[in-house]
Structures are given as structure tokens and as C-alpha cells.
Amino acid sequence: MIRIKDVTKTFGAIKALDGVSAEISAGSIYGLIGSNGSGKSTLLRIMCGVFLADSGYVEIDGENVYENSKLKQSIVYLSDEQFFLPHSTMNDMAQFYKSVYRSFDMVRFVKLTEVFGLDPNRKIATFSKGMTKQASILLGLSVHPKYMFLDETFDGLDPVVRQLVKRLIAEEVAERKMTPVIASHNLRELEDICDHVGLLHQGGILFDRELDDMKLNIHKLQLVLREETPIDALSPLNILDHSSRGRMHTIVCRGTTEEIDAVILPLEPVYYEIIPLTLEEIFISEMEEKGYDFKNVIF
């Protein structure tokens, strides 16, 4: 379990994190959403012991992570900017990882190089951007870490590799109870892998929720009411967003499907359908309820 408590971090006059608190359960796939400059990378670096928080703390499995080499044996951090030893090949890096991580699995490494189609004897400096990303991911996965912090990892990967990486992460979670924390500004990337998301904005967590909970309690309806049915009939619904086009109403509202059916069905609408919300739509609705213009938050 990762416990982040009141973490504040300032760089000169800039407050990157301001009293951030969160709990990440072991075995969950946590998506850390935020726009550029929101503090995602800073938080990840504090979590893996690169930075020391100005105040607050990060505990992983009950221990402070900073300068804790024993704890960090179970943590791998994949930065948005990859670093490799100068003039090294994949094999050189594997040897390096082996010298620092006791759990580094050489067999797994070899297998992953085959899966990703990377030549382990080729100098990494000759790799493309996407290939270097793949290299850092497969080296990280070969460690079999308990915690993996990924910073904008899917950027630069082609769709096929992206899905491959997601699958590998999911396998590690399923088989070894790995807890990945994936930082991204791209909601669509996280939608099909994360089960818990936290939104960072201007150094603070705006919300932090399980995805299923969010999806359970917020729905998008499309319906056409009978001509004699007044619009007020929909007032029992906890409406977050309502738009209409002619007689077609599109409504985003809170509540379970049963609760919503209990209000709509008696009205015998001409047309009524609950359609799935994307993560982005859920976020938009949540943010607007909090009074934020979502576009200002993310883009």
C-alpha cells in the first residue's frame, strides 16, 4: 500500500504539490491524471525517492521511501525521459539492472526482448524514441517489481505496442500483485487499464476515486418523452448535464440504473437508452459539478 500524506513540494517560487494526500491499495492499477505542470512527475519522483518532499511523507508498505534502498528494491520508476548508460546495449543495461536489483529476471528479460522484437546487442543510442521507451519498459518489467511508477509511458508507442504493454502490466498485476501507478494526461489511455484514478490539478488532488464506483453512479441517457410529458418530470433525477436537440434529450445524471429506471420508465418515453460514458465524459461531468471548466483543467 502506498500512503501519501500532505505532501508539499516547492521549486523556488513554484509550488508543484500542495498538501497532496492519497492512498493507493496494493494490487490496484492507479491512474494519475493531470495536465502538463500539474505535479504528476514530481509526485512520482517523491514516491520513488528521487525527491524529498518539503513537508509530508510517502510511505510504502509502512516505510518511508527516501534513502530506503531495501524498500526501493521493490520499486521501479520509468521516467518520461529515459536514461541509459552511455554507449550501452540492452544486454549492458540488463547487467546493470542485475547488479542493483536482486529480483532482476534474466530469463524474463530475454523473453521480453523477443516479444518486443528488440536486438539486445544493439546500442540503445541507435533506437528510435518508441524503441527506447520499449527498452525501458521491458527492463522495468524484468525486475518483477512490487511497485511500478510509469510517467507518460504510453507516449510514443504505437497502438500495437501500447496494447502489448497494457497486457503485460495487467499480467504482472494479476500474477504478482504488482501495483502500477501510471501518470498520464491522456484519459483514453488509462480508461481500459486503470481501476482507480486520481486527478492532480495545480498541485492538489481534485478527486481520487475507483473507476467502477464512478461508472456505477453516473450514467448518460438518451430519451424522447411523449409530447404531453413535461420536462419537469425529470426533476427527480440528479442531473449533471442536460442537452436537447429537438425532442431528443441527452442527460448525464447520478444514480444507479435502477434509480434512474424508476424515474424514467413510468413516463413511458418514446425512446430511452442508457449509453456508456467514457472516462473523459465522467470527468467532465464531475469537474463541471465542482465548478471547473474541464477544458481548462486538462488542455
Binding site: 528521487v50 534502498s69 531495501k70 526501493k72 521501479v76 536514461f83 542493483v100
Partner: protein
């Protein structure tokens, strides 16, 4: 049962991973290879080439005295280079945000990273250095040169270089922890090594300017700079090993540098622990350090540019130079620290404050308003005056006041331009710097001058101040000298009533044994006369008169008075008066008493009247007795039969020999500009007896009085070898040659 922890486990428990350290050492192989190549081509390879040179193979003596010392010197340079390179290379991971994010996310503590960097730097140097030293020893042994002394020289050289490798490595590592870019780390290393001597040098320039005609060279001697920068200490360490020069490397230097190594290595680690990773990539990690460095650099930059402007232009340009130096260096430093020229005026208010302070303090020093500096006029407290290398203290207040007033007037005259020092440095005559002078030209000022003594006093700030050797007219000092001579302390210093002669020692320098083994030291090869005195290059015979005195029944010991007499034999490019004077007056205790003539004669050049009486005083049983040499390579023997043979049986005989090489003497009477040219050898000998002696080994005593009316040109040799020397007639001996001069 308790299992003993392995070394690896113990280190791991302290957060140091042996496997990581090993990996880092292996990764440092390019640096190790570079060092190996550099050492290889500067140590064993030149040794092989020199030893195997067919046309002119190197001798043992040259190998010991010249080749290995040169190799040691180069090795010191390459060791320092290696230290800086290794320190920058090992810490390069700290100098980029990308790399530091990676390394600090690894399961390694900062101690592990730091230890790895140090271990890798050390091993890459040590392996390369040791292998090449072994190769050098093998080459030396294969040439049959590996005697005990040679091995010791090579080994000690290695030790000194390795020690200073660690000194400079500790400084470079410290610089790397304070900085966030490799280029700035390199500059910071230079700053840490050089800023103190630069600042001190600027302060000395200011004081030199302030104290005008005072010689404050003791404050700016290399001994001071040795404490300010390890470069001087490293140079001295390697120079002292050769043994050819007197060792200037002190044990205190070694202890100081050892403390630097320990302190900086430990301090660097603790600073690393608090060093913020996010600051990597910025030039200076700690903002306050950046400010400190900025202003310590501003000071010398401000002063040096002002100094240059002041020297090139007039005094007013000095202040313009200060302003320009401050502003330009401020802009440059800001640009470097912020990595953009847009930031060159950041903190401009601080610059204004600094500049105002600088100008205020500078003007205050020059105006004499800072009370802790005694401006050229001693306080009326105990004044210590040295004259003729004898230090004594005048305690009589009235005398001190008079001296003080004299100095004040004199200094005022200097500043007001009434006393104008000539460009001619009188001391250069004493030191025997020869120059060509046309017989048609002469310098009036020189002829009227006497040799200025070194008048020194201790000022209120405790600084030893010495009036510089300028061509100051004797008259300016005459009253001071009269005061000195008439003071009881002066007389007592020479011949206290309860003094006994304690010891009488001769020293000889540069004998034939030394020449054979080590070559000439301070004498050029052309001093060696192949015809006469070929066994000798030069002999300095000086005797130290150790005085003691009784106080309350206890015997106390003064510093010895050393009265030097010297002569050159051999190639007579130099000539000299043989100068060991009326010893009869000095060495016999029962004739030792107070006499105005006696201490007057102490201050005169000592003339050699009777060589037999001199030689009879040398404590030897036979002519091959042991004589102590200044440079002690064991027993140096002077064969006095050769001395006598060359010198002749009397002074007259000696001078006659000298005069054979002199073509002519020209004496110019400045009052009527008459010139007399003397070519007769007998007359030449008589004139030589009446001149103040010149030559490297001569001594013109501090109170030598020359006749103001005459200048003497001694023309020696012919054709390309022709040389002319300038001297003066001694005031009390002009009468001896009145029939010759007009």
C-alpha cells in the same frame, strides 16, 4: 549460532552495495585507459628512448639528477589532471536531471553512489599509475641504474603524486557536489584551487601600491602562497624530492593537505545528502554558494581591470577600470550562473552595494584612514632595524623618535617627488648582475650613490616593512645611520662586553666532488676554469661568528653574525676581491673588545690581507680536512693546496693574477669629466685594491662609502668576450691611487 556477516552484507547494511560499486568501477574503464595511455607515454616510454639513445646515452648522474626528477614533475602534472578528470567523470551522473532521476530512483543510497564514484576514480588512477611505475622501475633496472637512491627517488615521487591526486580529487568531488553541470564543476575546481592566491595577490598589489617604496616581498613570497593553493604545495612536494634544491616542502603542508582530503571527502558526502536532485542541471546547486562565489570573483576582477587601466592610462583611469571590471565580471558571472545572457543584470542592486563598499575601502586605505595599517611610518614603539643582516632592537625612545621623524620626512619626500629613486636597483650590484656599458656613458646617480642598507622596522600591524633598494642618495639615510651607529644597542649588538667567541666555522660550497657528481648548481659551467683551478668552480668561504653571552650565570646564544668572504676561481669571467678581512681583530677572544674602528670595520668589505693567517684558522689537521658544504651531500672536501696555488701567497699575488685578464680600467672623474685609461698591470692591481668589489660572490657591505666623484669601468676580455663592469672607488682608499687618477 550467530553467523558472521560477510563484508558484502556489512556494506549492504550500511546502504553500500558491493555489486553496484564493482559495476561502477568497471564502467569507469575509459578513464582508466586514458590515464594508462598518458602515464605510459610520459614515463616508461621516454625512459626507454633516453636510455637507448645511441648518439648520446643518458648517464646515471643525468638520469638521477635530471631525468627522473623531470618524469616525477610530469607525473605530478598528469596526476593532477587525472584527479580533475576522474572527479568530473565519476560525478557526471549528478550533472543532469535525466541521469540523476534514474540513479536516485535505483535501490541504492546516496552513500552507495558516492562510494562508487570515489572507488571508481581511485582505482582507475591507481591501477594505471602503479603499472606504469613498475614499468619505469623495470626500465631503470634493465639499464643498471636501479640503485637504492634511484629507487627511493622513484618511489617517493610516486607517493607525492598519488597524495596530490587525492588532494585534487577531493577538491573536484567537492566542486561536483556544489555544482549541477560538468563544465561548471571544472570551473569550480579551478575556483577552489585558485581563488585564494588571486585574492591575496590583489591585496598584495594594493598594499604594494599603498606602501610605495617599501619592500613587502616577505608578505608575497611563495611561502605565503604555499598555504593558499595546493598547486604550490604540489610543486614543492615534487621539487623537494629531487634534493637538488633545498627542500621547501614542510610537514605542515602534508598535514594540511591530509586534513583537506579527509575534510572534503566527508564534507562532500554530507552536502550530497542534502543536495536537492531537482537542482541538477543548474550551474550552482546552492543559491547562497552562488552569491558567495560571485562576490569573491568580483573583487579580483574589479581590482585587476582597474590596475591595468591605471598602469596603461593615468591614475583617473584606475577608477574607471574598477567600475568596468566590476560591471563586466558581474554580467559574465550572471550569464554563466543562469545560462542566459538575459540574466546578466540579475541582482544589480547587490553590485551597486558591493562597488560602493569596494571604492570606500580602497580610498580609505590609500588615504590612510584605516588605523590597523601603519602607513610607512612606524609607531614610536620598539623599532627593530636591520642593517647588514643583523637584527637588533633599538629601545631608546629618544632614538626611536628621531628615526621615526627621519623616516616620515623621507617618505614625504618620496611621495612629493623630491626624492626620486632611480631605476637602478643597487642591490643588483650586490647580487652581481652584470650589464654592458659603453665606456662613453655613465650614470651620474649611480656614482654618487652608496649602497643603501636594508632598513627594516616592524609596524603597528606587526608587518615587517623594509625600505626598498632604490638608488636613494646616502644623504637621506645618513642621519638615520648616525642614529643607529650611535645607539648603544647597535654597539652592544656587535660587541657586548661579556661576549666570548664561541665557535668559528668555515663553510665551503661547490667543490670538485659536487661538480663531478651533480653538476654545477648555482654556478654556470663557464665558471670552470680548465687551466687553473680546474678542480674548483667556486669557493665561498664564510665564517660564522657565534656569539654568546652570560646572563644571570646562564650562557645564552645569539644568532651568529655571518661575515661573508668569497672569491671565484676558475674561469675568470668574474673577478673579485678576496674578502676575508682583518680576522685578527675578530677571532681572538682576548683581543675582542669595543672599538669604534672594530665595528666600523665589521661593516666594511673584508679584505684578504694574509691568506696564510686565514687558512691557518681553518679547523683542519691536514689540507684535506672536512669542510661543511651548504648543500650537504655528505663530505665535501676542499683541497686547499689548490686554493693556495691559485690565490697565490699574498693578496698582491692574487690581484696580480687577476689583473692579467683585465684589458683596461677607465676611471671617470665626474666633476671635470676627465677620463683616465689604465692598462699597466701593476696599476690595475693597485686600482683593484681600491675599488668596491663586484661580482656575484662579492660583498659590498652595507655601510660601504664610495667616493662620489669617480666611476670605474673595468674592461675585461677582448672581442666577443669583452665585458665591462662598473664599480666605484672606496672613499678611504682613493688616496692610495692618487698618483694614477687625476
Amino acid at each position: 549460532m550467530t553467523l558472521k556477516m560477510s563484508f558484502s552484507d556489512r556494506m549492504s547494511s550500511r546502504g553500500v552495495s558491493i555489486s553496484y560499486v564493482s559495476f561502477t568501477i568497471k564502467r569507469m574503464w575509459p578513464a582508466g585507459l586514458l590515464f594508462f595511455i598518458i602515464f605510459f607515454f610520459t614515463m616508461p616510454v621516454p625512459a626507454v628512448l633516453s636510455l637507448s639513445s645511441i648518439s648520446d646515452p643518458i648517464t646515471y648522474t643525468d638520469y638521477y639528477s635530471s631525468f627522473i626528477p623531470t618524469i616525477n614533475g610530469i607525473f605530478m602534472f598528469t596526476s593532477v589532471f587525472s584527479a580533475v578528470f576522474a572527479g568530473c567523470y565519476a560525478l557526471r551522473y549528478l550533472q543532469s536531471r535525466v541521469s540523476i532521476n534514474f540513479y536516485h530512483s535505483l535501490p541504492e543510497t546516496r552513500l552507495s553512489h558516492y562510494t562508487s564514484a570515489l572507488a571508481a576514480s581511485t582505482i582507475s588512477y591507481i591501477l594505471s599509475a602503479v603499472i606504469n611505475e613498475l614499468l619505469l622501475i623495470i626500465v631503470t633496472a634493465s639499464a643498471g641504474f636501479l640503485k637504492h637512491e634511484m629507487f627511493s627517488l622513484i618511489f617517493r615521487g610516486f607517493g607525492a603524486c598519488a597524495f596530490y591526486f587525492f588532494v585534487f580529487l577531493s577538491i573536484t568531488i567537492f566542486a561536483g557536489i556544489l555544482t549541477g553541470l560538468t563544465s561548471i564543476q571544472f570551473l569550480m575546481t579551478g575556483y577552489l584551487v585558485g581563488i585564494l592566491p588571486v585574492i591575496y595577490g590583489c591585496v598584495m598589489l594594493i598594499l604594494d601600491d599603498v606602501f610605495n617604496y617599501f619592500d613587502i616581498s616577505s608578505l608575497s613570497s611563495m611561502n605565503v602562497y604555499a598555504w593558499l593553493t595546493p598547486i604550490v604545495r604540489a610543486t614543492r612536494a615534487i621539487d623537494s624530492i629531487t634534493g637538488i634544491r633545498k627542500s621547501e616542502y614542510r610537514l605542515s603542508y602534508f598535514i594540511f593537505d591530509l586534513l583537506i582530503i579527509i575534510g572534503l571527502f566527508i564534507g562532500s558526502y554530507y552536502i550530497y545528502k542534502i543536495r536537492k536532485s531537482e537542482r541538477s542541471g543548474t550551474p550552482i546547486i546552492f543559491p547562497r554558494v552562488a552569491s558567495f562565489i560571485k562576490y569573491t570573483l568580483l573583487f579580483p576582477a574589479t581590482y585587476i581591470l582597474g590596475f591595468i587601466f591605471g598602469e596603461i592610462g593615468s591614475y583617473g583611469w584606475l577608477y574607471f577600470g574598477f567600475a568596468a571590471g566590476a560591471l563586466l565580471s558581474f554580467m559574465l558571472i550572471n550569464t554563466v550562473f543562469n545560462r542566459t545572457a538575459k540574466a546578466m543584470f540579475v541582482g544589480f542592486k547587490g553590485l551597486i552595494i558591493y562597488f560602493v563598499l569596494f571604492i570606500t575601502i580602497y580610498i580609505a586605505i590609500n588615504a590612510g584612514t584605516l588605523r590597523f595599517i601603519d602607513y610607512a611610518v612606524p609607531q614610536a614603539s620598539e623599532i627593530q632595524i636591520t642593517a647588514d643582516n643583523r637584527l637588533f632592537t633599538i629601545k631608546d625612545k629618544a632614538t626611536i623618535e628621531k628615526i621615526r621623524d627621519q623616516m616620515k620626512d623621507f617618505n614625504k619626500d618620496l611621495k612629493d617627488g623630491k626624492a626620486v629613486p632611480s631605476n637602478y636597483d643597487v642591490s643588483s650590484v650586490v647580487k652581481g648582475l652584470f650589464y654592458q656599458i659603453s665606456v662613453d656613458k655613465y650614470n651620474n646617480d649611480e656614482a654618487t650613490r652608496t649602497v643603501s642598507p636594508e632598513v627594516t622596522y616592524i609596524n603597528a600591524a606587526g608587518m615587517k616593512m623594509t625600505y626598498d633598494y632604490y638608488g636613494i642618495y646616502y644623504s637621506y639615510f645618513s642621519e638615520i645611520f648616525e642614529l643607529i651607529r650611535s645607539s648603544e644597542n647597535f654597539a652592544l649588538q656587535y660587541i657586548p662586553s661579556n661576549t666570548e667567541v664561541e665557535e668559528f666555522t668555515f663553510y665551503a660550497v661547490t667543490t670538485d666532488n659536487m661538480l663531478d657528481d651533480y653538476g654545477t648548481s648555482q654556478h654556470e659551467k663557464d665558471h670552470i676554469d680548465n687551466e687553473a683551478g680546474h678542480n674548483l668552480s667556486s669557493i665561498y668561504l664564510s665564517y660564522g661568528l657565534y656569539k654568546g653571552y652570560y646572563e644571570d650565570g646562564d650562557y645564552k646564544h645569539f644568532d651568529p653574525i655571518r661575515l661573508y668572504g668569497a672569491f671565484n676561481v676558475g674561469d675568470s669571467e668574474y673577478f673579485n676581491r678576496v674578502s676575508i678581512g682583518n680576522i685578527d681583530y675578530r677571532v681572538t677572544a682576548d683581543t675582542y673588545g669595543t672599538s669604534s674602528y672594530r665595528y666600523r670595520s665589521n661593516t666594511m668589505p673584508l679584505y684578504f690581507d694574509n691568506i696564510d693567517s686565514i687558512l691557518s684558522l681553518i679547523p683542519y689537521k691536514d689540507e684535506n680536512s672536512k669542510i661543511y658544504g651548504w648543500y650537504s651531500y655528505g663530505d665535501d672536501r676542499v683541497n686547499f693546496s689548490n686554493v693556495k696555488k691559485f690565490l697565490g701567497s699574498s693578496l698582491e699575488d692574487y690581484l696580480n693574477k687577476l689583473s692579467l685578464d683585465i684589458v683596461s680600467i677607465i676611471i671617470v672623474n665626474k666633476t671635470n669629466e676627465n677620463m683616465v685609461t689604465i692598462t699597466d698591470k701593476g696599476d690595475i692591481a693597485k686600482i683593484l685594491a681600491s675599488c668596491a668589489s663586484v661580482g656575484y660572490s662579492s660583498i659590498i657591505s652595507d655601510f660601504t662609502v664610495t667616493h662620489p666623484d669617480y666611476v670605474v669601468f673595468i674592461n675585461y676580455g677582448t672581442g666577443e668576450q669583452a665585458t665591462s663592469y662598473l664599480t666605484w672607488l672606496l672613499a678611504d682608499r682613493v688616496g692610495d691611487i692618487s698618483d694614477i687618477i687625476k
